[in-house]
């Protein structure tokens, strides 16, 4: 990254959506109870590969990393996560309906 060829710096700014703020809060809180740490967050982000920077937003990458960290730490299983995600998806078509 450092020193690699890169183009113009984009100065557009967006306000964070509620779901993005929640992802940020989950990282902080999961770290505070010892389920993950900054380095383990970064390690999974890096393992997702450079393509993820093109195809996913910042907090999309973060929730993917937090989720994998929780499975690794034994907070919940992949089967439990799959069940819960199916339930959430069935609640409605928008974030507001599902949350």
């Amino acid at each position: 990254m450092g020193g690699d060829p890169a183009g113009d710096i984009n100065h557009e700014q967006h306000d964070f959506a509620l779901w993005e703020k929640r992802v940020d809060a989950l990282m902080v809180l999961a770290s505070s109870v010892g389920l993950m740490n900054t380095d383990s967050l970064r390690r999974v982000l890096e393992d997702m590969g450079k393509e993820s920077y093109e195809t996913m937003s910042y907090y999309e990458r973060w929730i993917a990393s937090v989720s994998q960290n929780m499975v690794e730490a034994g907070a919940f299983s992949t089967a439990e996560l799959a069940d819960k995600m199916a339930q959430v998806k069935a609640r409605g078509a928008t974030y507001g309906d599902a949350t």
């Binding site: 990254m1 450092g2 020193g3 993950m36 740490n37 380095d39 383990s40 970064r42 390690r43 890096e46 690794e72 730490a73």
Partner: protein
């Protein structure tokens, strides 16, 4: 004190930027002991490592491509990545 960053390229999580590996610089300050990220990242019990701020000149890091040779980059490097230069 002058030190050089190891020119190592292990797979996995490390906090030593690629562009500084193999480069030499001056110790700016020793910040103290911190968890080794190479263990912390894998949820292994981390050993403590000294974290040291190193000052590199642009000419050392980028050679002839340096924008201004006497400008500097300062970065935190864990002591186990450093050797006397």
């Amino acid at each position: 004190m002058k030190v050089r960053v190891h020119n190592n390229w292990p797979p996995g999580h490390i906090r030593t930027p690629a562009y500084l590996r193999g480069k030499a610089g001056e110790v700016e300050r020793d910040i103290g002991l911190f968890n080794n990220p190479e263990q912390n990242a894998y949820r292994l019990p981390p050993q403590k490592s000294h974290l040291v701020r190193i000052r590199f000149t642009m000419s050392e890091v980028w050679g002839d491509a340096a924008e201004t040779p006497d400008d500097v980059i300062e970065a935190e490097i864990y002591a186990h990545w450093l050797e006397p230069a």
